[in-house]
Subunit: 289 residues, 2 copies
């Protein structure tokens, strides 16, 4: 695995790959890799021959400077894991390399109004801007995002479509611990007790699936049942439990088309998110989480 | 010259060109071509083997719907001129092809506050968004913009740098009629009398050069002299006569570094712009207009 820190080195390295007619798969990350990230590389291999990963903790997408400063970092471990997973080029720029100047930006309307966007002003603009930069630097054929950050994944899909980026976006299913907790770098910050209580989030999604299978289509009935389960786990606070249409991430009263049921909950100072895609094609609900 | 209307056709046409190792030059236009546009193709040939042009009247960069509706169109003449100039691929999408949906956008802070940006809210966002789309569709090695639209050219240069678009931006000098009038599709709308009065704009730039050469560095002294010349031509209104730094297009009281002197003036309903780049390298002022 080659590790490069300069934009020019990424370009010169990949020019040859592209000339050889090999397809480039790209997984952008903020590091502190876990099985979730590595599953994105596995997914990427289905569509491409050369795997590129970036690790860059993108300051401009953090609302809280403390959250940025506390973001866990372990590059040596990351490099070993990525190498084992088959990553051939690792791009690890520093902030100076990525943001010599910062006047231009990319944003997406509507899709970022709700869910995480509502309470994190500027967060998604930071994400879209850095992902656009990375796409322009790596010029991948395919790029894989995790379902866990569903608002990010869906709105990057939208960004790529609207701005005609020549890259195919794949959304890969959330990877979970054996007990159901969605994998996240933030899980490392949970105390054993918090971690145990946080299982209520995935439990609430299973409850939502149960209700959907029994014919329930009303968003309020579903989120009320979910809220009860999560409240019983004594969370520090509930940010949101919402049902939105997949197409535009706007609130839906009734689940009729492809939708997303998503939750964000604080345990202590740690904000955890999880979600389920509800596919209504072929009549019955198919739940992906 | 091949004429294509679908994004997919541009991509498939240029994939072969790219594979053959030929460099792609790109000149985006809104059509109604004149010698100014053709000079951009000439400039592009210095850096690339294959010349691509687009013609797309981009509704979202017009503040006034009437200005959009009245924008002159003559595609047959454009195609003949572009073909003669050596354009090999002409991309002429309709609005449906370019804007299936329109939630994502690109914008640049600071550089669009002054000059034309001050009175045309949303104009530059429309320009940056369509240019980003076109760059992602054509993926050119080099793209040429005219100095006449200096705020557009400088802020696209900035956008490309900040967002790491893999394209080199060239700014080509303004092409003028023999009498000094900067070429523009809008000149066709001027009455003979208006056209004659409009010569005051380029005359005022020559006056600015004269003052700079005689040692004047104060912006107010220079713009006051320019304003007198333009007011004597009985314009319908003067939008601005300004001195800004080239680096960030912010107003400068004194010309110390590379700067732009720019004017926008109405004659009848037609708004004309012109400008001069003042290069201060090597001591003396070098004026490009």
């Amino acid at each position: 695995m080659e590790i490069v820190r300069a934009i020019g080195d990424v370009r010169s390295h990949l020019a040859g790959v592209r000339k050889a007619g090999l397809r480039i798969g790209f997984v952008p990350t903020m590091g502190f890799l876990h099985a979730g990230h590595l599953s994105l590389v596995e997914e990427s291999k289905k569509y491409s021959e050369i795997q590129v990963m970036s690790i860059f903790v993108n300051r401009i997408q953090f609302n809280d400077p403390k959250d940025f400063e506390n973001y866990p970092v372990d590059l040596e471990r990351d490099f070993a894991l990525a190498c084992d997973a088959g990553v051939e080029l690792m791009f690890v720029p520093d902030e100076r390399e990525m943001y010599r100047d910062r006047l231009a930006y990319v944003d997406v309307d509507v899709l970022t109004d709700n869910l995480c966007g509502a309470r994190r002003p500027g967060h998604f603009r930071g994400v879209f801007t850095v992902v656009s930069k990375l796409f322009n630097i790596v010029q991948p054929d395919v790029s894989v995002f995790g379902q866990k950050d569903i608002q990010q994944a869906v709105s990057i899909e939208k960004m790529v479509g609207d701005l005609d980026f020549p890259v195919r976006i794949i959304i890969a299913p959330t990877v979970r611990e054996d007990d159901g907790l969605a994998m996240s770098s933030r899980n490392a910050r949970l105390s054993p007790d918090e971690r145990n209580r946080a299982l209520a989030i995935s439990r609430s999604l299973r409850k939502a699936e149960e209700l959907l299978r029994s014919g329930e289509r009303g968003s309020e009935a579903i989120t009320t049942a979910m809220r009860k389960i999560i409240e019983d786990s004594n969370p520090t606070s509930i940010d949101y439990i919402s049902v939105v249409r997949y197409a535009d991430l706007q609130f839906a009263d009734v689940i009729r088309e492809k939708s997303v049921i998503a939750a964000a909950v604080f345990y202590g100072a740690t904000r955890l998110i999880d979600n389920m895609i509800v596919d209504m094609d072929g009549g019955g609900p198919r739940c992906l989480y």
